[in-house]
Amino acid sequence: MRISIRNVMLISSAAIALTACNKTGSMNGKTDADIKETAYSERVYWGDTHLHTSNSIDAFGFGVKLGPEEALRFARGEEVTATWGLKAKLERPLDFLVIADHSGGLGALQTLFDAPRLLIQDPTLLRWYDMMHESPEGRLKVTGELIDMAGSNTLPAALRDPERTQKNTTKIWTNHSSIVERYNEPGKFSAFMGFEYTLMPSGDNMHRVVMFRDGKDKTDKVLPYDPGQGDTPVSQLWDYMDAYEKATGGKVLAIPHNSNLSNGRMFEMTGPGGTPMTAEYARRRASREPLVEATQIKGDSEAHPFLSPNDEFADYGKAGWELGNLTMQRATKPDMHAGNYVREALKRGLAIEAKTGVNPYKFGMIGSTDSHTALATGDENNFFGKHAGNEPNANRASQPQNLGTRLGRFGWNYLAGGYAAVWAKANTRSAIFDAMMRKETYATTGPRMTVRFFGGWNFAADTLKGDWVKAGYATGVPMGGDLKEAKGAPKFIVSATKDPIGANLDRVQIVKGWVDANGKLHEKIFNVVWSSPATRTLSGDRLTPVGDTVDVATASYKNSIGAPQLSTVWADPEFNAGQKAYYYARVLEIPTPRWVLFDVLRYKAKLLPGTRVKDQERAYTSPIWYHPKA
């Protein structure tokens, strides 16, 4: 008799789970249509487009106990308890969140964890099962092996068989969408449906976050697309996106990330598999992938010192990550850097456009976290780790943190994570998504500085005296826009205001990339406005450094240097009307302590020699492109 009741319990709980929570709606009962949009984007909205929860195969493996509901509550500013018991809360809430769990084996590890052990036949799965149940460390090891095997195309079939996993995936996906609906609050907080497409042939990171404009009524009609293992063309993802839009009338976009770990494959000069780049391929890529995540916990992909030897700030977020691809199965050779970094990709796009007529790499920029803790933390003093295995503790900064191997990468190589800033006409899914499609976005490495960037032909030096935002929209284009029909040199309004609770600003730079008549690629960085101009001068292209007020012992800094706001109108002094070019703004803060110093302060962490303890955090705007007449 006792046995029968136990048996019954298992069955009944499963039956009940299937019927749980299937409501649609929003938190305030409103829809996007109820929220009035402003005439132009008056306000910047902050969010994370790349957050993992316990539904991600690796996040669960790393031990995270928090699911989508906790992730949403946390992003909205509420206090939650992190996996290992620490209370976690954001200093300021976010305005939007995309939960992007891996489509590959969505929830599979959780299912394996929950499975009756006796029914597991695959020896690898059985071993993993035992390791996972043995201890948190066991889970961590399983996840390392799993990412390694996914990269080398040797995952157990049972974990990747789409038919076997479909039922489970459907359940997770539709339960997830119900939760997202419950926390979406048009006008106040936008909760997006999304997933991560995790293609990584031989460990080369070709990952994309896929983000929907729509709610449960449409997204429930599809399942997240899983490219499987091996080397399938990314165009299959675009096929999936086409099919979704056709079937539902909805909209969806994709955001590549961690190009720095792709071993040159994220931004190739050729089409897939070394075939020639075609206009059709370029058109599809540009329309499907309007944004790139330029900075996140696993390093910064803006620029690399090898490609930009004159850029003294290009080494930010490179240590460790520049050594190899995601799984470290293959080392990164110098000739791979060009396909790894955003600034170079923007130049390559111009060169491809010159040949095919279409620019495949015409994208804007955002930052995000890629946190696997369900906690979208981007601040140095509140870094909850890449995954639950390195939530705050005394050792994480100095432990090897490799996914596949144990060489070369250490905890301190992680950045605290970035955020996406979006100039939208309202805080709704539709308004934010539409702003992303027109690339009116910028990336930051965590601080919330306000950055405006307009290009035009008619701005004057005194434009800044009046209502220059209105003027920017009326007579120019915002970040992400295009300039045509040159009338003299292009002029740019750039204005950066510090994060009101953060560090002062060092300088604003405009990065220009162009392609010359011979097809050769060039770049130049112009320092256009900086703090303390009376004492800091240009010598050639170099500007006197801003100084450094970081006190290592107390993990603090002073705003006695730098400026709260920097703005100017700048005209390109080297403009050549016949050359295709792009311009984007880079804003640098004064030096501030990195998260590792807070670990020293709070946990008496011991740091390895060579650990970077301070940095200049920054923002990258989406570019403005100049097109000569054909």
Binding site: M1, I3, I11, A15, G25, N28, D114, R117, T450, P500
Partner: protein, 267 residues
């Protein structure tokens, strides 16, 4: 009598037993591990086929039904063998899974509850401060920056146009009925509450924001209020669900724990 049954129905432990009994009835009878005969009934086969159909949106072929039955028998054989081997008692994994399933059952039950307006109103009344909008402030501000705050303050008091004074800063020169969080979001932590104490209609300061000193004229301060339930129903329901789930988990455990005598040896 009714009054006695209704509270009982809210007990999580009762839910366990009712759900268990229902499924028990559906699947028809006891399984004795010592029994080495397995009978697959017609209704069980129908159940298997229906489950298949729900998943694949079509009826299984006869071969597929055979497969389902074979799989069911395999489950049963392994299950009984495992019980014979005592794997259910000495296996830490089994023990943890059982615990986790028990906890999950309570959570899933509470997820299905549809709270009444009265329940949510009571929750709202008990947590008013959590739902109250914060106070709203209308004000004008001039950013002093590196300038002379005493001089700017004096100029403002003589009635000079604020737009002609101070240092440039891309934050609004005036805000209307802005809530504390919204002001702080633009001016930095604590700014709204600092200026809300000023007498109305007078230029005051300097007061520090995240950018530096400002001279501020507060025009209006309105107290916050608690919105009616109809305006914040889903928000209240989300919070009630979360709290309800936790409390049910706690109560269910307590109800079970109460049935035990616990003795802990001193170290």
């Amino acid at each position: 009598m009714i009054g006695r049954i209704v509270p009982l129905l809210r007990e999580p432990l009762v839910h366990f037993l009712i759900a268990g009994a229902l499924v028990f009835a559906m699947f028809g009878g006891t399984v004795d591990p010592a029994d080495r005969s397995i009978t697959v009934t017609e209704s069980q086969i129908r159940g298997l086929a229906e489950q298949w159909e729900a998943t694949w949106q079509r009826q299984p072929t006869p071969a597929e039904v055979d497969g389902l039955i074979r799989d069911y028998i395999k489950d049963e054989v392994y299950y009984r063998e495992a019980i014979r081997l005592g794997l259910d008692t000495d296996d830490i994994v089994m023990r943890r899974r059982m615990r986790s399933k028990m906890e999950f059952l309570v959570a899933a039950q509470s997820e299905n509850e549809a709270p009444s307006d009265a329940t949510l109103q009571a929750w709202l009344d008990g947590h008013k401060s959590k739902y109250a909008t914060s106070k709203a402030v209308s004000f004008d501000q001039v950013f002093v920056g590196e300038g002379d705050s005493a001089r700017i303050s004096a100029q403002l008091k003589t009635g000079m146009n604020p737009a002609t004074l101070g240092a440039p800063l891309s934050v609004p020169a005036a805000l209307e009925d802005s809530q504390v969080e919204d002001i702080d979001r633009q001016f930095g932590e604590g700014f709204a509450n600092r200026i809300a104490q000023y007498p109305l209609g007078q230029w005051q300061g300097p007061v520090e924001s995240g950018f530096g000193p400002h001279i501020v004229r507060v025009r209006k301060v309105s107290a916050g209020s608690v919105p009616p339930l109809s305006k914040i129903r889903q928000k209240v329901e989300n919070d009630w669900r979360e709290a309800n789930r936790k409390s049910r988990e706690g109560k269910a455990y307590q109800a079970l724990l109460d049935g035990y005598t616990i003795r802990i040896a001193k170290p």
